[in-house]
Symmetry: C2
Subunit: 227 residues, 2 copies
């Protein structure tokens, strides 16, 4: 792993302790909940997904996604709850070891932008939580479309107000990430003593959910009638 | 499984025996090779892929695709050699059980077109062979782009000269198919007595190769600078 990137990964962890970067907020049920800059699910600033309910149901069928997967994802949510940072360390290590991926997090000078990496990292962690919570309702669908837009040249770099070396995340990488995000997750799912069968169920459900996300994020790249 | 589709799947097998649909042809090395209507890899009528060698190498890195995967795919080629038809039976059964997928193989009247289904099936089988042969050279890249185009409204239905209910395969399904094509393959890879480790290696390599294919097929759906 690139040493600079390992440091960036660690500095992202420390960002959790920085005032302004992230803070705690009491929710109705009394639990502390982190507020993450740029994380806007369920708020009015989020785009509206053009996917219809019927199209979404058909898409889930094509992905063999059933209610059993919802249950398996929620089991995974409990398994991963205290492993989010180690998972992100692995993913950021992977990005850091690949200059063609680092470039998307780099400024105009070509050097990686730590503030940008940290901000994305916080949202990436929340994405794991939201994906495994598996409440795939209209607010979630709208937010996936919003996240897709934030990878296109329409909204990339705007959320964090950064100047980036790249005006767009090339769509091929949204889809390609299905493989590393799926392959690297299994050891984490196996770490809490679940049966091989349960680990496999969680892993398959995660694979489907990651693919579903990649598809929904790809929507704004493609002309409406072709998606 | 839809009974009509089971019959279509069986009739596709019988198409192997029909003159004109498929025939044998002696190749230079003396082995019989099937010629498949509309299968044009390596011929001058194929489109040229715009992906550069550097982009392709970076894409493979993102997919964690190494030479070990090439070897595992070639092992899978030997394992699957006499199982292509049963694999296609499973996939066609899946399509047949989902009306939202059947529609892509249907004529203007809404009824599935058996000739079209059969022609696609022969090429689908050859796609398994080509994917597991893992000779991912420029001719293969060009042909993946050609196959992508044949799913877009630019070329869909042209290869087989059909009138279809749909002028395009919606891109979301190209990506969604990563899941069923990956999940259904494992039992076939395990059928020839290989170790669990080898089966897992073949399966992971297949997962990466299917994702790679989906990405390359998606390229013509997306503006050049955004892919």
């Amino acid at each position: 792993m690139n040493t600079r990137f390992r440091l960036l990964a660690l500095s992202a962890v420390s960002a959790l302790l920085l005032p302004g970067a992230v803070f705690s907020q009491a929710t109705d049920d009394g639990k502390a909940r982190r507020a993450i800059p740029g994380y806007t699910m369920g708020t009015p600033v989020v785009a509206r997904s053009p996917i219809t309910d019927a199209e979404f149901e058909a898409l889930k069928k094509t992905l063999l996604f059933t209610n059993e997967d919802v249950q398996a994802l929620r089991m995974a949510a409990r398994v991963l709850d205290d492993q989010i940072e180690p998972v992100l360390d692995v993913w950021y290590g992977f990005v850091g070891a690949n200059p063609h991926l680092v470039t998307y997090f780099s400024g105009k000078t070509g050097a990686p932008n730590p503030a940008y990496l940290n901000a994305v990292r916080l949202r990436f962690g929340q994405w794991i939580r939201d994906t495994t919570a598996a409440n795939y309702d209209r607010a979630w669908l709208d937010y996936q479309y919003e996240l897709g837009l934030r990878h296109t040249r329409l909204k990339k770099n705007k959320t964090d107000g950064v100047e980036s070396a790249s005006p767009v995340i090339h769509m091929r990488y949204l889809v390609a990430f299905i493989v590393p995000l799926t392959a690297t997750m299994k050891p984490f799912l196996a770490k809490k003593g679940h049966s091989a069968e349960d680990v496999e169920k969680m892993h398959q459900a995660w694979f489907k959910a990651v693919t579903l996300t990649a598809i929904l994020w790809a929507q704004p790249y493609v002309p409406a009638g072709d998606f």
